[in-house]
């Protein structure tokens, strides 16, 4: 009975806990694989940059329509895509590399967003846009998040092979077919829409937490891309469920609780992960091998 009270009752008794849990599940399904590809392509900080970049779009949506799900999502999407495309164009046409051009655009975008929200509303509004409220997720937000993660999984399945090829050898596609940039852009679009989904629930600052932390943690447990993606989704969902329970039983804000749970999973993986974790590195007997690990 005790275990029921601790683990099940919060979700069984309260609709908002159920919706928050389902939101975590949907978010993890989409964000996990995206996070894995970001980790494998050494673009882990890109998610962070993009999550800030969508702020002014959401802010303009907020300005026009208040706390409207659709206005804020569409705004975030448009600005996020614009930043991705502009950064891509700059990196292709100037001496700047993609990370530098992206940093430039996302910082401008972030500052514009803070400016816009502060101008119209109070700092409270800004905090809600930045941090979100997963406990107030309604049915419409759930549909949006679920639709985005479904779309993400389908698109990833379609562009899976070229995407994996580009992860390991960015030059390969350029030589073989020349459509590398297309897949790259499609992938970046997926990153943006997943962040838009996450920001509905967790806010722009925390959305990236469920994308990168589970992925980084999963990376230490497997070297198979599909296993990695599934592990990341699983860790993300488990962090969501545990974070909500912690928030429920210890009266802690739910967004940070969820992201910190994912953080614990990450720390645990760093120590004990079987693929390159610290414990393995220190305790295994030295031997020579030329295995094909990542």
């Amino acid at each position: 009975m005790l275990i029921y009270d601790i683990l099940i009752a919060p979700f069984a008794d309260f609709g908002f806990m159920k919706r928050a849990l389902i939101a975590c599940l949907a978010l993890s399904l989409g964000s996990g694989p995206i996070g894995i590809f970001l980790v494998l392509r050494r673009m882990s900080l890109m998610g962070d940059a993009m999550s800030h970049a969508i702020l002014p779009g959401a802010a303009i949506g907020f300005l026009l329509a208040g706390y409207s799900l659709w206005a804020m999502s569409v705004g975030g999407l448009i600005v996020g895509l614009a930043v991705v495309v502009l950064a891509g164009l700059v990196s292709r046409n100037t001496i700047l590399k993609e990370d530098a051009s992206l940093a430039g655009f996302y910082l401008m975008s972030l500052a514009a967003g803070v400016l816009i929200v502060s101008k119209r509303g109070s700092n409270v509004d800004l905090l809600h846009v930045l941090f979100g409220t997963i406990l107030a997720v309604d049915a419409a937000s759930l549909v949006l998040v679920a639709a985005i993660s479904s779309l993400t999984l389908v698109v990833l399945a379609i562009i899976y092979r070229p995407l994996v090829a580009e992860c390991y050898d960015p030059g390969f596609l350029r030589v073989a077919g020349g459509r590398g940039p297309v897949y790259h852009i499609i992938f970046l679009i997926l990153v943006v829409i997943n962040l838009v989904a996450g920001f509905q629930a967790l806010g722009t600052l925390m959305a990236v937490g469920l994308m990168m932390l589970p992925a980084a943690a999963a990376r230490l447990w497997s070297s198979q891309v599909t296993t990695l993606a599934a592990t990341a989704s699983l860790i993300g969902f488990a962090s969501g469920a545990l974070g909500l329970l912690v928030s429920f039983h210890f009266n802690l804000p739910s967004g940070p609780a969820i992201v910190l749970m994912a953080g614990l999973a990450y720390l645990f993986s760093i120590l004990f992960g079987i693929k390159g974790g610290m414990a393995r590195a220190y305790f295994r007997k030295p031997h020579f091998h030329n295995g094909k690990e990542l």
């Binding site: 109070s122 997720v137 309604d138 429920f248 009266n251």
Partner: protein, 295 residues
């Protein structure tokens, strides 16, 4: 380059010619409710500027350089005090403002409230109309000191305003007296009605942790919902300065109809339902009554 110089010159020119009001007192009030009270008492003799405007939250306000400019040119600055508008100190300092900063709440009997597990002084004293009368007296005294030639007018405005507040106070009391004490329970999104509740015998259950600043925890939220269900509370309100999404969700899940927006810490814009201090009460009281009757 020439164009740039011309542009800078133009900007300087525009910036250097502010609309000078003909020898009117320039007064600054920290937030909208106070701004309305000050304009009532100052009448035609002053131009009142409000730093935190309609629907703005004075708790978390961050002044801009334009605000510092207004404060610098002010004759008198009015603040609520009690911890609501502490930012005025640094603002007055950075604006090198030398004039008086009047704390209009001086002389009221303060209440305490819980915030983040700490007992603090509840700043929302204006929610008791009798405190509003004390505010009015403090404002009038400061204006008389700053502008003695018009002292008679300020005294007259104060007396008329205080009489109006007293009449409203009586009316509010009578209206709430008609509701049985057991039904006088209300839930709001932010703990701003402590003085109101004490003055008019209403129990306000503000969900602790659902303050304007913090992100809510699932634990607090679940306790609140359990309370709403077990005690059959139907009077559920949102306030104009807080995020409406959370209260909407609570209402949906507990099957309670939201009772509309209460104005607590800020007035509405001029075309809204609560553009003045008095209108704020005339907006809030009937809504509260309507909600309570359903309990």
């Amino acid at each position: 380059m020439k164009k740039l110089v011309a542009l800078i010159g133009l900007v300087l020119l525009v910036g250097a010619t502010p609309g000078m009001a003909a020898d009117k007192l320039r007064l600054v009030a920290s937030f909208s409710i106070l701004g309305d009270m000050v304009s009532r008492i100052a009448g035609d003799h002053a131009e009142v500027l409000t730093l935190v405007g309609p629907d703005g939250d004075a708790h978390t306000f961050e002044p801009s350089p334009a605000d510092a400019k207004e404060v610098a040119s002010a004759k008198v600055v009015f603040v609520n005090g009690l911890g609501l508008d502490k930012w005025i100190e640094s603002l007055a300092h950075s604006a090198e403002y030398q004039g008086p900063v009047i704390t209009v709440s001086s002389g009221i009997k303060t209440r305490t409230m819980m915030e983040d597990n700490e007992t603090i002084t509840d700043p929302h004293a204006w929610q008791d109309l009798r405190n509003g009368a004390i505010y009015a007296a403090n404002i009038a005294a400061a204006l008389i000191a700053a502008d003695p030639p018009n002292a008679a007018d300020y005294g007259k405005n104060r007396d008329a305003y205080v009489a109006e507040l007293a009449a409203l106070d009586d009316g509010v009391r009578q209206q709430f007296a008609s509701v049985p004490a057991a039904k006088r329970r209300v839930i709001t999104s932010h703990d701003a009605f402590g003085y109101f509740g004490a003055a008019y015998g209403i129990e306000f259950l503000a969900p602790e942790g659902l303050s304007t600043e913090a992100e809510a925890s699932a634990g607090d939220l679940s306790k609140l919902m359990t309370q709403i269900k077990s005690e059959g509370i139907k009077a559920l309100f949102i306030e104009n300065i807080t995020d409406p999404r959370m209260m909407t969700m609570i209402a949906n899940e507990t099957g309670v109809e939201l009772g509309g927006a209460l104005f607590s810490d800020a007035l509405s814009p001029p075309d809204g339902p609560a553009p003045t201090y008095i209108a704020m009460f005339k907006n809030n009281v009937p809504k509260l009554l309507e909600g309570m009757v359903k309990n």
